[in-house]
């Protein structure tokens, strides 16, 4: 029952994200556009490049989709609406997201195309920049909750949501989560202007549909993670918990798409420099401050 409800919720979220993305890229609004685009992709032929590493080429889209789904599986929409409440849930989110990298490397290597190849390795560079900024803020969140259970993390935010309790962690996590789902301004692996769709360039038809779906799932998962870790999950007055959860997830997803719309893509060297010289010290500071606050009983 939970699985069905969560699946429907995820589908709705994906549709909303796709709708907004379509609006931002095309400039006009069409409510049926994502559905039509999906059908059109499925109806189109799907070819394999001339000398592919077939195994990696075929596995990559599925792996990307699974990574997003696994991350979503441990995130609660309401106290009862969670697929698996793992004791190490917060860590598991991160573990699942690590396979986004693997999927993109495979998708980059698989088709044996220069654009895809460069794009795949580019994402590796991006991971080196952002990965610490995912883990360290989660650590600070876990310190406050004194648990890795996602549901306990939400409960720990009664009173002060983490966005107010540890705003620094929120900002870092939010930026890093944009980078995880390679949304602009971190869309280096699929940049149209630099690599003609990069990793996606050699995928067509149904395979492309799965790849794009995987990215949408990823966006929704990351929005859900931000909600659970920082925005108090299902908490809120008047509305039922699931409604609060869903509203926050959608709002975060929308803000993630909009943020990229107003920013240019980052340069690799700057991304690395800022993440390591600024981001990681700040993340460490955040852990320290939260530790002190917890000890002080705030």
């Amino acid at each position: 029952m939970n699985a069905v409800l969560l699946g429907l919720g995820l589908l709705a979220g994906i549709y909303a994200v796709a709708l907004l993305e379509d609006r931002l890229t095309r400039g006009s609004f069409a409510p049926a556009a994502p559905l039509l685009a999906g059908i059109a992709l499925l109806a189109r032929e799907s070819v394999v490049a001339r000398k592919p590493d077939r195994l990696l080429f075929e596995t990559a889209p599925v792996l990307l989709l699974s990574a997003g789904l696994l991350a979503a599986a441990v995130l609660p929409l309401s106290p009862t609406l969670v697929l698996v409440d793992l004791a190490s849930g917060a860590l598991f989110v991160n573990a699942a997201l690590a396979y986004v990298l693997v999927a993109l490397l495979m998708a980059g290597w698989g088709p044996d195309g220069a654009y895809a190849m460069v794009a795949g390795w580019r994402f590796l560079g991006q991971v080196i920049a952002y990965s610490m900024l995912i883990v360290m803020p989660i650590t600070a969140v876990a310190i406050r909750a004194e648990s890795l259970l996602t549901t306990v993390i939400v409960v720990s935010q009664e009173g002060w949501w983490n966005i107010f309790y540890q705003p620094l962690g929120f900002v870092l996590f939010y930026i890093a989560s944009l980078a995880v789902c390679f949304l602009p301004p971190f869309d280096r692996p699929i940049a149209a202007g630099e690599l003609a769709a990069g990793v996606e360039a050699e995928y067509t038809g149904a395979r492309l549909a799965v790849l794009r779906l995987g990215r949408m799932v990823l966006v929704v998962s990351l929005a859900a993670a931000t909600t659970v870790f920082y925005l108090g999950g299902w908490q809120g007055p008047w509305l039922p918990p699931w409604a609060w959860g869903a509203t926050k997830v959608l709002a975060v997803a929308a803000s993630m798409l909009l943020a990229g719309y107003y920013l240019p893509r980052l340069r690799e060297e700057q991304l690395l420099a800022w993440c390591w010289k600024l981001g990681i010290p700040l993340a460490l500071l955040n852990i320290f401050v939260v530790g002190v606050m917890v000890l002080a009983g705030l």
Partner: protein, 562 residues
């Protein structure tokens, strides 16, 4: 079922625009409003949108792209003449209403012809015959791996026509990424058309590479030192195979028609080869150009700035002594400056696309179209919108961080236009024009000479140009052709040169005439000098930075080949 799928497909059209979205916008086409999405590669497109008449090089690119598109696919021609051999699904006039009309036709065509029981193989003549012939399936809806029509993979590198499908630049890069897949690949070589990749290694094909093959006993492992010793070294000293990757002529982040072949060492640029569109139409026919024909040929040369080039031709003919239907001097200023505004805005949209700055791309495109369609007759409204745009762009710290220090140009005598003016060189052909002198025109300059300064300079020029248009107080004609009707007279002889400051810099036209016919045409387009600078400018840049550099120069590929 099939019909239902097709109807959905026909409503989700994803277009690959030839020569490019920038040219489409210069013709005043609003693609997003027509419901089209833009594809970054032919693989993702189902509509090939041909805008205007294509020069030969682009016609080839169109054929190759069409071959690479997934079925169901269609081709929409806006204009008169289609490239030979391309199955045209629908045809319409070159205007927004034509586009809408054509898309309607194309949707109907999709529903009728989308799936066919018998599909004949489409093979662009430039493609290797075997690369397109295998396994063309009968049902485009099939998406299993049963058939893999491989649309022209592998040979694109040869004519470099196809940026957007970089696939080929790369075929074989598994092998060639490290040091010597290319030597050892002998059994693969037979069915591997793309020798292009290996060009750089021909020099050492066949010696060390074989060692690993034959002598693989205990220590063949160490032959790696031998194998890699002849490979080109990048500054970091790591020997890697370099691959040649085509970018363009249909690459989304470059002006449509410009085709770069970058030699990539990992993701940094080790070499550049730029190809542009030759100005074939300027070769005089037998007995020379009649002046009407010359006027047409020159104005059609660059679809991005038709007004400047028409004015250039008119001035050159007038300098030869012909009586020409020239607009008044004030009106010329208004026309030129209006085109400059539109062109700079088009460049901003391209920069937005290249740097992934969605808002800039959309907003600049909107303003450009408003400016081109004469919808922005109220200059104060336009000026206000531009001021807002300028503020937003200048305030964007990330954009500044991205562009600062990128593509620094040294001061050189050959530089022209905004690129020169961003190097603190006040070079501007407009200063010699008395009509501009009356309006107290002073060229704007900036120091710094990097991509950010070029952006700032163009933003400044946008406002300046609007002010100039306002100062001319000329009435805006909203009809398509702003020039007075009539053809130039045919009585002139001798030689003459005319100069116009186009949005990209000074264009110079030299005509030689005898007996009322123009027998020799020499055009010096603004972008030619810059194209020569590219190898120096891009060396060892990261790929994305290199493309941003190219974009910041605002090159026009049209007629730039010498």
């Amino acid at each position: 079922m099939g019909q239902w799928l097709l109807r959905a497909t026909a409503r989700d059209l994803c277009a690959l625009v030839i020569p490019g979205p920038d040219v489409a916008a210069a013709y005043g086409l609003e693609l997003g409003a027509a419901g089209l999405r833009l594809a970054a590669t032919p693989r993702h497109a189902n509509v090939l949108l041909i805008v205007g008449e294509l020069p030969a090089a682009l016609a080839d690119a169109a054929l190759v792209s069409y071959a690479q598109m997934m079925r169901p696919r269609g081709c929409l021609l806006l204009g008169e003449t289609a490239p030979a051999g391309l199955p045209i699904g629908a045809q319409a006039g070159l205007s927004q209403s034509g586009l809408l009309n054509g898309l309607g036709q194309l949707r109907a065509w999709f529903c009728r012809h989308g799936y066919q029981q018998q599909v004949e193989t489409f093979c662009a003549p430039l493609l290797m015959p075997d690369s397109a012939s295998d396994g063309e399936g009968d049902d485009a809806g099939e998406s299993d791996g049963r058939h893999q029509p491989d649309h022209g993979e592998g040979d694109n590198g040869r004519h470099g026509s196809h940026g957007s499908h970089g696939s080929h630049g790369s075929h074989g890069s598994h092998g060639s990424h490290g040091s010597h897949g290319s030597h050892e690949n002998h059994e693969n070589h037979e069915n591997h058309e793309n020798h292009e990749n290996h060009e750089g290694h021909e020099g050492h094909e066949g010696h060390e590479g074989h060692e690993g093959h034959e002598g693989h006993g205990g220590m063949s492992f160490m032959s790696m030192v031998n194998v890699t010793k002849d490979l080109p070294r990048s500054p970091d000293g790591l020997p890697m195979d370099w691959i040649e990757v085509p970018f363009g002529p249909l690459f989304p982040g470059l002006p449509g028609g410009l085709s770069l072949t970058l030699t990539l060492d990992g993701d940094s640029v080790a070499g550049v080869k730029a190809e542009t569109i030759p100005a074939a139409c300027l070769r005089p026919p037998e007995g020379g150009f009649a002046s009407g024909d010359l006027l047409r040929a020159v104005s059609a040369l660059d679809p991005l700035t038709p007004v400047s080039y028409r004015l250039l031709a008119l001035r050159a003919l007038a300098a030869l002594g012909a009586t020409v239907p020239m607009p008044s001097a004030r009106r010329c200023v208004a026309l030129l400056e209006r085109e400059r505004v539109a062109s700079h805005l088009g460049w901003l949209a391209l920069l937005g696309c290249q740097t992934g700055f969605g808002w800039l791309q959309q907003r600049a495109r909107q303003l450009q179209l408003a400016c081109l369609r004469g919808a922005a007759t109220d200059l104060r409204v336009l000026d206000k919108a531009l001021a807002r745009l300028e503020r937003q762009v200048r305030r964007n710290r990330l954009l500044r961080a991205r562009l600062s220090g990128l593509g620094v140009m040294a001061q050189q005598a050959s530089l022209r236009g905004p690129v020169a003016r961003a190097c603190a060189m006040p070079i501007d052909a407009r200063t010699q024009d008395p009509a501009y002198g009356e309006l107290a025109f002073e060229p704007l300059c900036r120091e710094g000479a990097d991509a950010w300064q070029r952006l700032c300079l163009r933003l400044d020029e946008l406002r300046q140009s609007v002010a100039l248009v306002a100062a001319t107080r000329s009435q805006e004609h909203s009809d398509a052709n702003p020039f007075p009707p009539g053809t130039p007279s045919e009585a002139y002889a001798g030689e003459a040169t005319a100069v116009v400051e186009t949005p990209r810099g000074e264009a110079r036209l030299h005509l030689t005439a005898s007996g009322g016919r123009v027998t020799a045409v020499k055009l010096q387009p603004p972008s030619r000098a810059l194209l020569g600078q590219l190898p120096h400018l891009l060396r060892q840049q990261e790929l994305g930075d290199a493309l941003t550099c190219v974009c910041s120069l605002d090159l026009s590929p049209w007629g730039s080949a010498s």
